[in-house]
């Protein structure tokens, strides 16, 4: 009722989790196949409650944008709700709500996903809605103008009018100089204004083709009947038959520490380190997940114990292994307690990181890490929507849907020595950005 402290952390983490981390789960049965047009379909049957989740993920995100059209993929996501040849403007929401369902969409650096959660007797409606906008989206200038304004308000709400709103944009723009990860999915407002209406259709025709998407349906379904129904709605959608644009830029190796001060109307300084790490799914990325748990997993972790509890220099600390399709960042951060200096917090975080690199993981700590990994693996995917999203991710990124059942083995192969090695290999000053996010009154 009167909690103040948690708000900040939540806001920060929610923002981060918006972009493509993936979950694991226990044994999940599924059937998968390709339609003739290249659309990949994954079906998971679970009849325990009369609910069904439809998840259509397109392999396009902000990294597929041109540098003078940042924010385009996310903006386009809004246009996908505008209507189709057979769906009037504004009717999309109505169909879903009238069916008793919920729907939404999100855009990350790498993918854009659309979902509907419906009572299972409305499954066919969901297929019709998604196939309509894949086959023949219709957008008009009224819709484009409206969404231009709406997205600007979204941007203000999530970034400009919110303390620490520019924290992540600072991280990505300073960590990436060449790769399109240097801009955030929300992009810069002016580019959408500059875009001609025809560009939106060009984008649609290029990226929103069946062979660049995966359709996942999970829940109260009958696999055989649904297979026929999926074909009915999706098989006739023509494929693009062209190579999909993927960014070729390779981020050059960072060779010296980058230090940046950013200022905002905030009260507490934040010190944040962002280290370059390999892309998701690489063996080292699993080791880095475990490193994160060791350093910052819970109140017994060294980072929390030292900075928040013993030294009381930080109000909050955390570490996030932020893995994306082409590259990743290992982020460690602290919010300074009132009156504490960024420089001192910086030194304290650095000390803990150096300590972690130098120490050997005890057997009991290693077991703790493994327990935490196991807990995550068996606890996620509690909803059909969650499962459908996980299946879609594993297919899009790795073309290996069954990772939903086997990913834990990747962690089981990691040794204590691997964790120590990645700590020393990646958590090096020359490989990092040191960001001070400071109150504006500190500005020189």
């Amino acid at each position: 009722m009167k909690k103040v402290k948690t708000l900040l952390l939540l806001g920060f983490l929610l923002f981060i989790s918006g972009s493509g981390s993936f979950a694991q789960s226990g044994k999940i049965e599924f059937k998968e196949f390709d339609l003739k047009n290249g659309l990949h379909v994954i079906l998971h049957q679970n009849n325990s409650t009369p609910t069904v989740a439809i998840n259509l993920m397109y392999h396009v995100g902000s990294k597929n944008e041109k540098s003078d059209r940042t924010g385009f993929a996310h903006f386009f996501e809004h246009l996908m709700f505008e209507g189709s040849e057979n769906i009037d403007r504004g009717a999309y929401f109505k169909y879903v709500q009238n069916a008793g369902g919920n729907n939404n969409a999100s855009t990350s650096f790498d993918v854009t996903q659309y979902y509907e959660v419906l009572p299972s007797n409305q499954l066919e409606l969901g297929l019709w809605l998604e196939s309509e906008r894949m086959l023949h989206l219709r957008i008009d200038s009224t819709g484009i103008e409206t969404q231009r304004k709406v997205v600007k308000e979204e941007r203000k709400q999530s970034l400009e009018n919110r303390p620490y709103g520019r924290l992540l944009p600072e991280v990505f723009s300073n960590s990436f100089k060449v790769h399109p990860y240097r801009w955030m999915p929300i992009g810069e407002a002016q580019y959408i204004d500059q875009a001609r209406n025809s560009e939106f259709m060009d984008f649609y025709k290029h990226f929103y083709v069946p062979e660049n998407a995966v359709l996942v349906i999970a829940g109260d379904i009958q696999i055989e009947a649904l297979t026929i129904m999926v074909k009915k709605y999706f098989e006739d959608i023509p494929n693009g038959n062209h190579e999909i644009f993927r960014p070729k830029e390779k981020e050059p190796l960072q060779t010296s520490e980058i230090k940046v001060n950013a200022y905002d109307k905030v009260q507490l300084p934040v010190v944040l380190y962002a280290y370059h790490i390999p892309a998701m799914g690489t063996p080292d990325s699993y080791s880095l997940d475990m490193l994160q748990k060791w350093m910052a997993g819970g109140k017994s972790s060294q980072l929390y114990k030292s900075l928040v509890d013993q030294q009381q220099i930080a109000m909050q600390v955390g570490a996030i292994p932020f893995s994306l399709e082409d590259a990743g960042l290992f982020i460690a951060y602290g919010f300074a307690n009132l009156g504490k200096k960024a420089e001192d917090l910086d030194a304290a975080i650095n000390t803990e990181i150096e300590k972690a690199k130098a120490s050997n993981i005890s057997d009991s700590d290693f077991q703790k890490i493994k327990n935490q990994i196991e807990n995550d693996f068996y606890s996620r995917n509690s909803t059909m929507q969650g499962i459908s999203s996980t299946l879609a991710n594993f297919y899009i990124y790795f073309k290996n849907t069954n990772l939903i059942n086997t990913e834990i083995q990747k962690y089981q192969q990691i040794t204590k020595e691997d964790i120590k090695r990645v700590a020393n290999q990646y958590l090096k000053p020359e490989n990092r950005l040191v960001l001070y996010y400071l109150p504006e009154s500190f500005k020189k």
Binding site: K5, P50, D236, S379
Partner: protein, 691 residues
Amino acid sequence: MKNLLYSIVVLTFTVTSIFAQVDRTKAPQAAPAPKIQIGDYTKFELANGLKVFVVENHRLPRVSYSISLIFDPETEGANTGIGSVTSELIGTGTKTRTKDQINEEVDFIAASLSANSEGIYASSLKKHTEKLLDVFADVTMNSVFKNEELEKIRTQSLSGIAANKDDPNSISANVSSALTYGKSHPYGEFETESSIKNISLDMCSQYYQKYFNPNIAYLAIVGDINPAEAKKLIEKYFGKWKKGIVKSPTYLKPQPPKFTVVAIVDRPQSVQSVINISYPVDINIGSPDFIKTRVTNTILGGGIFRLFLNLREKHAFTYGAYSNFNYDPIIGNFKASTSVRNAVTDSAVGEILYEMKRLREEPVQESELKMVKNYMMGNFALSLESPQTIASFAINTERYKLPKDFYSTYLKRIEAITPSEVQETAKKYILPDQSEILVVGKASEIAEKLKKYSKDGKLGYYDVDANPYDPSQKGKTLPVGVTAQSILKQYVEAIGGIANISKVKDLTMKGKVSVQGMALSMNIVYKFPGKYLSEIVMNGQTVQKQVLNDGKGKISGMQGAKDLLGPELEKIKMEAEIVPELKYESLGYKTELKEISQVSGKDAYMIEVTSPSKAITVDYFSVETGLKVKSITEQDSPTGKISQVTELLEFTEVNGLKFPNKMKQSAGPQTFEVSVDEIIINTDVKDEIFN
């Protein structure tokens, strides 16, 4: 023959393809509605009064335990935050466990354990459940609080409060609750710096003793566990939990305002206004109008409905707009909220009020009502996917003494609501003419246009702690963390930094002073350390000359010459510095940050400087640039003390240092304008000129 065969092939082909053809022009029909089954639960009660509800669900190998403490909270007043600080203390030690032991045990099994002021929650994988219960029961029953931990939590809470002062949504939530319920109601209170500072260990221990009791606790157990197993475990771990006595306080029922009022929290950096329209409503889940108000609200703003469609899809004011009723046995509320760009703030308030009125004045169309009902019924079904929903149904049924079939008939009762019932409900519960309209935003751009929504045409200004103030009287709230020292330090940096300042060995400044149409020339020379000369000349004749040399000050002019002593000497010594602020500390000047006020329409920090001889100067530093923009000193004059006001304008840079090119001075009725023509640095000024 051949042709016939061909026709058959074609025919067959065509038939198949017609069969597979989709009629895309219409939405497909729904299949028959699935049967909605609300999952089962088991309940039992321990001898100590602990009520337990078990929802068995084996989808995941996990079990969660959630204790809700059901009591009527007391007003905490000047100590607001006792409950939340107590909840933070839980987990920092018990009679037999240290904090480190608790944290290590919980993290080792990858469990979560957390408390709030009205409950405590824990969960883990099934295989660790007994280990978890061991710690969970211990912190619930046997916590021991220490001062050292209280101080840590206090520091954290103060940091959190400081951080939230910049968050428009936190400000809106706090101030809105104070306006809706009143600050003397427990729901209208929120933590402030001073209330957190007031909280003692005793208060927290008493809170814990008083409310963490089995006889007011509802424990929901959800997951991979059967009732028999649960019963055995709970008897074992919570059987010894001792009963307590909890008395209910009485409150005055908060009432909606007599007429709509508009309140504003000025947040000058806002590029978006956070709008919140609310009032208290006496309604809870057990109230006869519960379902009617839910349907009525859903039409208005309980999804992608009227508010969203109007404010976002039609007007593009916002990313989203919603409303809801909060149901509570003490007092609930209605709230409609959105965030919109500054320029359309008043229009957005107008549209929300319009939609509220429309619901009262026009009966809802059958088709729209049907859609809303479908949406609600479908979402009810979807919510059953989560076993936690079943647990909350069980607890609500018990707590509000709901009829046994309350949830099983829920859908039927939604279905039965008519348009006229919606309109009646709206007239009773949707109160556009009795609302608190709160806007957190940039007052200078939005305030004037909001007045029209206030019945009396007035705006109530509030600070972030929900204290009212008169904007014409009071300065702005100072940001936390900004001090006189930090502002002076920033000033030094703003004018060029210590490195550049220390490079200056001497400085000569030439300019003009105009007084009532007369032009005088001015010549000021500094040589560091400690030499200073200022001369004002009219028509070749020195009107006034001041010199400081070897610690001695002199003033001479047409009236003769005298030595400067006491406060006058103190003053010229400071004038002999380019940046006197750098000497404050070593010379014993005291500085105090007073407020943010305005200088020429821009925000400036006001700092009061008291010299060792108690002479007071008030300096203003621009919030935006950090530069000193105004200074007020007290001067002795034949008519007593008068204040001399100097405004510093048009800064230019010389050798990396910023100097004002113009100064406007006024002292009593007189005004001067000083304009600087030339500043030259390090010209090897001779010592003799200061003799």
